[in-house]
Amino acid sequence: MSYSFRWSVLWTGQSGHWLLEGVLTTLALSALAWVLAAALGMTAGALRTLRHRPLRAVGTAYVEFFRNVPLIVWMFFWYFGVPPLLPRAVQDWLFSHGAEFWAGMFALGVYHGARMSEVIRSGILSIPRTQFEAAQAMGLTTWQAYRLVILPIAVRLIVPPATNESLNLLKNSSVALTISVPELTFQTRQIETYTARAIEALTAGTLIYLAMCLSIAWIMARVERRFAIPGMIARVGGG
């Protein structure tokens, strides 16, 4: 293979600026989508552990519908399919305020919310039922028992799988390039288009993704240790 590398394309011209912009967009897109996914995931995850049948069905329907369809289809659906159904004024506002970003964020958040809820549900289910019964025996309402006892324990139990899922969300934000969100993969392609230097551009993008994933994993491992309840995590995480 006779390929002469020219790494300087990554810091000459606009490449550096594009990469930085890509990283910032990826982080903003992922962070906002993560908040939405966490909110939806917690709601659906909690709903699915309730005794109340209709509420459980709502949670299950949301999860099963959204997580069994590829993210790219949801991106196209939310970006191309839904806006034309909205009132004219809302459409105009959306398309002058970065509609692709918001559609991408929404698609990513709703899709990963469904996957996140599975993580949260198994976290809740792994808490012994007696915790709940003890909380109720002390006079807490169902809502209080969830808020004060079940959720604080469940959140700790789910840190490792939830971190995994959050990293999936970060990596999946790259799918937003299909609806022209200028995130990291999009910018990597742009550098390739302008410089015709595919390997250099892809190397830069790949290393940035690796760095982001590895540092988040490292930080979350520390968080997990920091907030561990002595004697509680060891039993579940020991396997």
Binding site: F76, V82, S173, L202
Partner: protein, 222 residues
């Protein structure tokens, strides 16, 4: 809702997009089935390499898994798209690009599942197999893998569903799968809501029935 667009185009979407029968070399299933088989096969080797005694083999397999788990599939697809033609000095079709990207990335995930499955087996199984005179390879093939694979079935099926959905990303490089077929039709008809919802339902039918199978197997093995 006007469903005329589906009535007129469902044949193209199903035959060309899902099955790959038509003018384009494409098809979601034609990509998903071999990718699942090859990814799983490579995953077994990677999972076992991570449990090998040789630190070199173990290190290489661990690096492979950590690398591919830290990079988006879209990125891997672009790597294959640009680099394989450079290496081989010949253009390869989208199908080849898509399948090599899917297999190399998903094998890392399958490998993690295989490793976890093997590690759940009690150590006594291996010792007993060695005690009755089986070689290392025989122990793996006749004792460890059959039991480990059975334990792993639910997580393997889950991974297969992920891979099935991931084949949709091959549309980015122009492979005519279900997603790309819907895009092609939409460029002509401009009915995105109906078309994308329709293919969402098709993907859903496959993925959901696979997840039902996983759940049934989970109950059986538990």
């Amino acid at each position: 809702m006007d469903l005329g667009v589906i009535a007129q185009n469902w044949k193209f979407l199903i035959l060309q997009g899902l099955l790959g029968i038509g003018n384009f070399a494409g098809g979601t299933l034609r990509l998903a089935i071999p990718a699942i088989a090859l990814g799983f096969l490579l995953g077994i080797f990677i999972g076992l390499a991570r449990l090998a005694r040789s630190p070199w083999l173990r290190g290489a397999a661990t690096a492979y898994v950590e690398f591919f788990r830290g990079v988006p599939l879209v990125m891997v697809i672009f790597w294959m798209w640009f680099v394989i033609p450079q290496l081989l000095r010949l253009p390869i079709p989208e199908y080849g690009v898509a399948i090599s990207a899917l297999v190399s990335l998903e094998a890392a995930y399958f490998g993690s599942n295989v490793r976890a499955g093997v590690r759940t087996l009690p150590r006594g199984q291996v010792e007993a197999a060695r005690a009755v005179g089986l070689s290392g390879a025989q122990t793996m093939r006749l004792v460890v893998l059959p039991q480990a694979l059975r334990n792993m079935v639910p997580s393997l099926v889950t991974q297969m569903i992920v891979l099935f959905k991931d084949t949709s990303l091959a549309s980015i490089i122009g492979y005519v799968d279900l997603t790309k077929a819907a895009q092609i039709v939409n460029n002509r008809e401009i009915k995105p809501f109906q078309l994308y919802l329709f293919i969402a339902v098709i993907y859903w039918l496959f993925a959901y029935s696979m997840s039902r199978v996983a759940r049934r197997l989970e109950k059986k093995t538990a």
